[in-house]
């Protein structure tokens, strides 16, 4: 079995009496260390798919296995625990807590571990150093640029050393320069730290940084080689 394996996954949402069919009989397998760019039109179900892999939502039918864990028969609490150890999340709008400094935001996931306070602080600073923002440790999100906030968010995503990073349009809100920095950072995390990355993006140039590119359209996955995209 692959590192990430989705088999015959169906996801429906119920809106009142209406059923929205988002994902239909979807299959996907990724090996550890992969960097997947997931593309597709708005509303095609990219975030939904990401949520299933990240264990924050469960499929209507089919199975989702990540790093040997079968997510579709876990309870909410089991999933929460599993997420904290296995997945780092990066969102389009950073989603930092505005009342905490960068350092404290990064430290947040470590509150779920048994680490001592001094160790948590050290790990948080190490993560900030990895994203080159150690000097902004005491700044609040409001005092940082969008690109810097996203780097703090990435530091938060990696601080507990998860195997998988799940990024939903991480450059969607950034200018080209900042976006390039974020993409370079993700590439480093993938290549040097061995993180498996699944990234949703609208931007073909962003997809260039990935090893694999897949298109989602009307709930179905279509493969396309990276070479084709950049050609």
């Amino acid at each position: 079995m692959a590192f990430i394996e989705l088999t015959n996954v169906v996801k429906n949402y119920e809106k009142g009496s209406e059923v929205v069919h988002v994902l239909q009989d979807l299959n996907l397998s990724l090996h550890e260390g992969d960097f997947l760019a997931l593309m597709g039109p708005s509303g095609s179900g990219k975030s939904t798919l990401l949520n299933l892999i990240g264990g924050i939502d469960q499929p209507t039918a089919g199975s989702v296995v990540v790093d040997g864990a079968n997510l579709d028969n876990m309870s909410g609490s089991q999933l929460a625990k599993w997420r904290s150890a296995t997945i780092g999340f990066v969102f389009q709008f950073y989603n930092l807590l505005p009342f905490l400094t960068a350092e404290r935001n990064v430290e947040l996931p470590l509150l779920l571990t048994n680490l001592r306070g001094s160790q948590r602080k050290e790990n948080a600073l190490t993560a900030l150093r990895t994203v080159s923002l150690e000097d902004r440790a005491k700044h609040k999100p409001g005092e940082l640029s969008g690109g810097q906030q996203q780097r703090v968010a990435i530091a938060r995503a990696i601080v507990a050393d998860p195997k998988v990073l799940v990024c939903d349009e991480p450059t969607g809100d950034l200018d080209r320069q900042s976006a390039q920095e974020i993409l370079a950072l993700l590439e480093t995390l993938n290549e040097q730290f061995g993180k498996t990355i699944i990234m949703v993006t609208h931007d073909p140039l962003a997809a260039e940084h990935a090893k694999t590119v897949l298109h989602l359209d009307k709930g179905v996955l279509v493969e396309s080689e990276q070479a084709e995209v950049s050609a």
Binding site: N51, I56, R156
Partner: protein, 388 residues
């Protein structure tokens, strides 16, 4: 940073809102302790039930402030079932300044302490009180408060009675002190005979009677008998058991218990609305954030508990401040002597129980206000939360 530190930082982020909520609750609980303690005092019998049940109180029928003829004392003493009758008058006394109000009653020293055995006095002081023409006794607390000494001639002003020469300031000799049955009772007792002969209205009047009866079962019967004795006289009276009389007396100043309860209820209803609304609003603004925390791996129940404890902390903490300062105020008022004539200072036990019930109430308020946000936090899915 610890989890507790995180909760603190979170409460601190909207400083103005947190402060206003805090302040609003603080005032509410301050009021609650102060008014609540007083309301309790007004609603309990001021005299212990056991003793009070054997006593009747007779006063002028139409207003308790009217006087009644002193000869009623002797006449009522003759009735079957009546053991002893004593009388008291309302003097409206103060010490030096009208703001230093004293609860002062001219009484008959020989009968007063027999009808009120719960007021303890040594034989030595009692006989001095009986024998001294301008004698006066006071509770030890009052004696200490004004730093009087036994043997002092104390000027006592009256809001009601002048002496024959028109002077409203009287002089009494402190001959001793007595121990009231309850902390907070401050009645200063004056020699009636002197008051009676020296006051400008002339002799022969008393304020009300306290009647010791042989059997509490006979109370209603005797009361009725007394009232009918004087029904066609120029000074009709009304007789009731002591506790009932106390309530009737207080009722002249409005139904204080009801009024206090009304105020408290209104205050709490308002607080509940304000806090509930503030919490709900603060909560809505944080739903996406809670979604992020859930995503990171914070437990559904843990976060729900966190929201609940935040609400409880936010209501209990100001309550503690309010209660402490409210108690401080009561103590200050009680010891300033300005404890007005009609405003009994609540005993410490009442204040303490009000304090404890306030904190419990604050906890309940927190749970009530935090319950729905907490449940919502626990139940909402991350996908819903992030789309909020």
């Amino acid at each position: 940073m610890t989890s507790v530190g995180f909760v603190w930082k979170n409460l601190y982020r909207k400083k103005t809102r947190t402060f206003l909520t805090f302040f609003c609750l603080f005032i509410a609980f301050l009021l609650y302790v102060a008014l609540g303690s007083i309301a309790v005092v007004f609603s309990i019998d001021t005299v212990s039930g056991e003793l009070g049940a054997n006593r009747l109180q007779t006063s002028a029928k139409y207003s308790m402030i009217d006087d009644i003829p002193k000869r009623y004392v002797d006449e009522i003493s003759q009735l079957d079932g009546v053991e002893l009758v004593t009388h008291m008058s309302w003097f409206g006394g103060y010490y030096q300044e009208p703001s230093n109000m004293l609860v002062t009653f001219p009484v008959n020293p020989s009968t007063f302490f027999r009808v009120y055995p719960e007021y303890e006095i040594s034989d030595e002081y009692l006989s001095a009180f009986i024998e001294t023409r301008r004698g006066m006794v006071a509770p030890i607390a009052v004696v200490e408060q004004y730093q009087w000494k036994v043997g002092d001639i104390v000027p006592i002003g009256s809001q009601i009675y002048a002496q024959k020469d028109g002077n409203y300031t009287w002089e009494f000799e402190l001959v001793g002190y007595y121990t009231p049955d309850q902390e907070g009772q401050t009645a200063v007792l004056l020699q009636y005979d002197y008051f009676d002969e020296a006051n400008a209205f002339g002799p022969g009047s008393v304020g009300w009677l306290a009647i010791q009866i042989t059997d509490s079962q006979l109370g209603p019967e005797i009361a009725q008998k007394i009232d009918s004795m004087y029904i066609n006289s120029s000074d009709p009276v009304r007789t009731a058991t002591e506790s009932e009389a106390n309530r009737q007396f207080l009722a002249q100043y409005g139904n204080i218990t009801l009024m206090m309860s009304g105020i408290l209820l209104a205050v709490f209803f308002t607080i509940l609305l304000v806090c509930g609304n503030t919490m709900a609003q603060a909560f809505r603004e944080r739903i996406a954030e809670l979604g992020v925390l859930k995503t990171i791996g914070f437990n559904d129940y843990g976060l729900g508990l966190w929201i609940l404890s935040e609400a409880v902390v936010l209501s209990v903490l100001p309550a503690i401040f309010g209660v402490v300062i409210g108690m401080g105020l009561l103590v200050a008022v009680g010891s300033s002597g300005a404890a007005a004539m009609f405003l009994p200072t609540p005993p410490m036990s009442v204040v303490l129980s009000t304090a404890v019930s306030s904190i419990a109430l604050a906890g309940a308020l927190g749970v009530l206000v935090g319950a729905i946000p907490a449940l919502t936090t626990t139940r909402m899915s991350i996908v819903e939360a992030m789309h909020a």
